[in-house]
């Protein structure tokens, strides 16, 4: 794996001057992913969402790689088409270089709207890497709930009020859905652990087939925490087992990081504005339910790893 000195020598492929919020995690994902892939040419696309909107405001672009704008639902389809064209040109001898293909999508564009296109691209076996920056709601349009929003989280379409205490349902486990496609590489990573993320991007690109990485990306606006804590909030989600760092390589599960001591989920929840109402005594039962769900998911993951 490339260390920080080697990454620094490659130079940034995602420039400053984009219009993301101060302390945005999505741009950290894009920067680190392009740095990790930077020893060979990369073609990128991005589903409509925060990352696309802040990085490509006309007439500026923050992408220092060939970039294709695609609609909300089809970034996986777009990049798979580019990859198919590249394969054909390479066969004909017009293109000689090794080129890598990357698609970025938020949780709205991946868990909900782009799921069909993503599933199709994974099944067809294109040589591409899909990175989902999961900030757990539609942040770009003003924090609406998505199927990645965790239980109890207040969003504008699942507000805390008299009828419901934030989102009622548990979140969908997309990483498992993609792992069920039987593709060479599926992983979960986090903003706040650059070495884990860099390692996984390098591994995914070296596999030479469809690969998927879900990255938990703290959003200072939608989650409601001070901007300097972006990386810290990601690490805390890992230390509470809310977001386990694991990979599925050729069908084999492996946990990459086990916290020395599992922290209670309240440590992570209570730092965020969106879970503030859970501090009230009448919502104690929800906290217990959330903790039980996290423990169950961790236990099931452990079983899969030992199989």
């Amino acid at each position: 794996m490339a260390n920080l000195k080697e990454l620094a020598a490659r130079g940034d492929k995602f420039t400053g001057g984009h219009r993301a919020c101060a302390g945005c995690g999505a741009t950290i994902v894009a920067r680190q992913a392009l740095l990790a892939a930077g020893d060979k040419p990369v073609v990128a696309t991005c589903a409509t969402g925060c990352l696309e909107v802040v990085s490509t405001i006309f007439p500026y672009t923050a992408w220092d790689v060939p970039f294709i704008h695609s609609a909300f639902e089809n970034s996986a389809a777009t990049i798979s088409g580019v990859e198919a064209a590249y394969k054909s040109l390479k066969r004909q001898g017009t293109v000689k270089e090794d080129i890598r293909f990357m698609a970025f999508g938020g949780d709205g564009g991946t868990y909900d709207i782009g799921l069909q296109a993503l599933s199709g691209a994974m099944e067809r076996g294109h040589n591409m890497l899909y990175i989902c920056y999961d900030n757990q709601a539609y942040m770009n349009t003003g924090i609406q709930r998505s199927s990645a929003t965790p239980k109890g989280s207040a969003t504008t379409t699942s507000p805390n009020g008299k009828k419901i205490p934030g989102k009622v349902q548990f979140r969908k486990n997309l990483t498992e859905i993609i792992a069920a496609h039987g593709i060479p590489y599926v992983a979960q990573s986090v903003v706040g652990n650059w070495s884990d993320f860099t390692k996984k991007v390098e591994k995914a690109l070296a596999k030479g087939g469809p690969a998927f990485i879900a990255v938990l990306q703290p959003c200072r606006l939608g989650w409601g925490y001070p901007p300097e804590l972006t990386a810290e909030m990601g690490r805390l989600a890992v230390d509470t087992n809310f977001w386990p760092l694991y990979e599925v390589e050729d069908g084999k599960y492996k946990i990459n990081y086990t916290p020395k001591e599992r922290k209670p989920i309240t440590e992570w929840l209570f730092q965020q504005e969106r879970f503030r109402h859970l501090k009230r005594p009448e919502n104690q039962a929800i906290l217990e339910e959330i903790q039980k769900d996290i423990d169950l998911r961790w236990e099931n993951l452990g079983k899969k790893c030992s199989q």
Partner: protein
């Protein structure tokens, strides 16, 4: 704020002919506090550089030398991630005053 381009300055069909042009756009005036670098406490771990969302940490030959205040939005991630030397941070956030 950066000047908006007139239509005659744009390429035909509104094409963007070069990549990475966002460097010309200044976001430094969003900032309410600025990072101040104290090189004597810096161990050159590069954590500030790898976690900066705005690519605003200036490196020279792989060494941190300061910040690009045209792009820095003052989020403070660099100061928070900085391990410093003997627990004294090399990056401290100071409020912008005019």
């Amino acid at each position: 704020m950066s000047e908006l381009k007139k239509y005659k300055e744009l390429a035909l069909g509104g094409n963007i002919e070069k990549s990475g042009t966002a460097v010309d756009f200044k976001t430094g005036d969003w900032r309410s506090s600025r990072p101040v670098y104290h090189p004597e406490n810096c161990i050159q771990c590069l954590f500030c550089w790898v976690y900066c969302p705005d690519s605003a940490v200036i490196l020279k030959d792989g060494q941190v030398t300061g910040f690009n205040l045209d792009h820095c939005k003052g989020c403070g991630i660099c100061a928070h991630e900085c391990p410093g030397k003997k627990k004294v941070k090399a990056i401290v956030m100071e409020e912008e005053v005019k």
